[in-house]
Amino acid sequence: MSENFKLTPLKIEEYTLANGLRVVLNQDNAVPVVAIAVYYNVGSRNEREDRTGFAHLFEHMMFQGSDNVKKAEHFQFIMKAGGTMNGTTSSERTNYFETLPASQLPLALWLESDRMRSLAVTQENLDNQREAVKEEKRLRYDNQPYGQIFDLINEMIYKNFANSHSTIGSMEHLDAASVEDIQEFFRIYYAPNNAVLVISGAVDIETAKGLVETYFGDIPSQPLPPELDVTEPREVASTYREWEDPLAPFPAFLMGWKIPKRRTPEFNALYLAGKLLYDGESSRLYQKLVKGEESVIQLFGFTDERRGPSSIFVGAIPKPDKDLSKIRETITAEIKDLAENGPTAGEMQKLHNQLINDTVRTRQSSIARAQNIAEYALYDGNPELINTDLDELLAVTPDQIKTTVDEYLNNENRALLDVKPGSSS
């Protein structure tokens, strides 16, 4: 059936303001809700070697007030209008988004434009948010078992500093940051011509356009940020590391491979191969390691999708008495089988149905639509990909999966992080 499935296209209208801000509108009147997503083209990949953690620190600073919005009022304005909001930082971008009753579109645009044009970069805000970031690091990384393994393996996979360092960054670098450093970072990266604004939901297109022009039209553009080099050699930076984690109750391991950038035929093929290996209870590794040999407590895997060299991971927390190397052999054997024989017809049918189901389900929510559209607009310069990207994934052939797995998922060019439980006493 999936061969004849036709996605109902989303209505997309795209234009650029005189100052370079790219705007995408997606009207959908089903529920009187509107989602706004502002994506800045800055992530940890843009950070200097002595100033890591800046992109993420900025995500905090953006809630600390601007000319007409006092510290922390951003939250309050959104919440008391009946909305939800957040911001996140990745290697690729920093995003800010809110969902509100549709009538509150002007409020959202007022708030987003005020911080884009006049963020309050003060010593007090900087000091305060540095502490909040340190707390976040303690909570999410230092105080969680296995909390640091993804940052560690990225350093093993990538050689280029732009790719290898963590988003949370170095607390020493944050402490060393001056207000001037932060102001400069803001000027360079938080310019309208370095951002994408997406509005999705129950909006009148002409009204939305007028409001966007009013609030964003006169924010001055800036010279484009410095060119970024995210190129990588094919080989990983290091193939093995042992890590003692004082909070880990059990040994664990994480394997990572460096793979081509997102939306290439190779990335798509490996993304699908990954789903077959570790996604869901019918996946190959779940059946082998959780059911068959019943060796692991937890099995997980995912792809880290980037505009430059990307990565794919498989990790496991084995049962205490199990031989880790045997589990890795099982994983290797399953990958090898995929490389030699490719996926079965049944597996291809599963992939197709899952891709369609996930794509349709994601489209229900205005904020999910806005975020997906923003990524295509920012990364690919083409928001219409929201309507065609599914076809590209559905077009991946079993043979492509087979040959790409064979080419990329080999043991010689794999980063392996062995986690040993440490003594906490």
Binding site: A30, V31, P32, V33, D67, N68, K71, A72, F75, Q76, M79, K80, A81, G82, G83, T84, T99, P101, S103, Q104, P106, E131, A132, K134, E135, E136, R138, L139, D142, N143, P145, T207, T214, P246, A248, P249, F250, G280, S282, Y286, Q287, V290, K291, E294, I297, Q298, I317, K319, G346, Q349, K350, N353, L355, V360, R361, R363, Q364, S365, S424, S425
Partner: protein, 568 residues
Amino acid sequence: MTEDFRKTPPGSLDPIPFSIAAPFRTTLPNGLKIIVFEDKRFPLISYRLAFGFGDANDPDDAGGLTSALTSMLSEGTESYSSRQLAEQIERLGASVSASSSDDFTIVSASALSLYNADILRLISEIVFRPTFPEDELSLYRRNTVENLKFQRSQPNFLANEQTARLLYGQHPYAKVSPSAEEVEKLERQRLTDFHREKLIPNNATFIVVGDVDTSELVKEIEASFGDWQPGEVAAADFASLPERSARTLTIVDRPGSAQSNIVLANLAIERNHPDYFSLLVMNQVLGAGASSRIFMNLREEKGYTYGAYSRLDTRKRAGDFEATAEVRTTVTGESLKEFFYELNRIRDDTALEQELMDAKNFLTGVFPIRAETQEGLINLIVSQQLYGLPEDYLQTYRDKISAVTPKEVQRVAKQYIHPESLAMVIVGDAEEILPQAREYAAEVEIFDTDGKPRDVSDYGKADTGETADVSGKWSLKVDFQGQQLPVSLVLTQDGDTVSGKLETMLGDGEIADGKVRGSKLSAVARAEMQGQEVKFAITGTVEGDSMTGTLSAPIVPDALPFTGTREG
């Protein structure tokens, strides 16, 4: 220069009305209730087959039985093995699974609408014909026991475990998970009997939201589920809830923890209590969100934490109020002070008109956002149905929120927040926490991460003396396999915080965040040795100008003892 229109927040556009239609409801002769909500926006369907029993209804001698039942439903049926079921479900791109909470057991599914018939067939397969194969059950037991061990490494789990025990006493809500012993003795026969006894249509509701034709769907459900034989719904008899008279402190000692997980809790109300909406609004003002008082105080003003909140846990038969935060260890006491300040403030002041309006606007405004997706909408309908809320609950929700008055907010704050008799649970480094938190409670108890009680008098000993002065250069002799290796410590001290340098023949290390408690020094030095970072843990006892202690590092199996003197 700012143009005038930017100075104040803009007004809103014309509001667009939002209403949720009343769903279709019917009941089959065997007692199965059916609720259908047609939503043809997307070619999708979401399903819930929900039963009015949960983990709290586990037999006294079979803890974990409900949870095992739900996990085992899809691990083998008369027609399919566990693997075949997983393949059938996932080949449709669908999901079908079962889970239990304290009060309910729910089979959930979602799929593209063209697979409706397959999904109904799969749901009836796992509900009517599970076989609970011995080998799958045995695997379930082993995996669950391992997962229980794993959970004990999570500070949140440890905090919830103690909080539930303290608040609910002998009531089944006191248990957040079965014990390993209980899981190990779960028998197949028990599951088979329990399945027959509990999965009955007259204690179930089948809820469907999505791209369906209501009358056809009802016919299909009737065809598959109409022959289902009703049974007897067992009345539950639960222990009464304990009464608390004094504030208590319970610490779960997790040595070396970077943070303290704080939970302050007392009993409150069950989900269908008439005070629900007033309490919901009160909690929104106090701590439910990122613009609530607790967050504004502990995170935004003080910077003690990444997030601090309060929440209502309202279940079928009882519920509680909790204020929580994960704060850095050194500000545990300060954080408690601010928590109590906020808990008392909302009891003693009438919430400001504006704050109340903001809270109500938030709760009414986000409601349509929650109903935007099928999963969101079906969960709202499930709550309405299972908690026995009025049939027009979703239609009147926003009016009920809007009707809450400041007086009501203050009344429920006084009635349901008890700063003087609440339970304080803190997971973290007990040596660090105890001196900061002791003054807030009449009684103190300490547990280890296995849940075993510890002797409180073993803690806080180093605190009794004055803080020693450890600053200066120390020459240490470290005993390594009979050899005496020279090592130096160069320390500076500020209050009880120590920094400095560790010097060895193989390389030097930086000391940050060292601590002196009484005469005890503890510090970690990070040294670079032959290109590798090595972490040394230093513990020492200082007496005048001499120090004894140990040095440990991952590269050596046992801690190395040392003796040393301060250079003049």
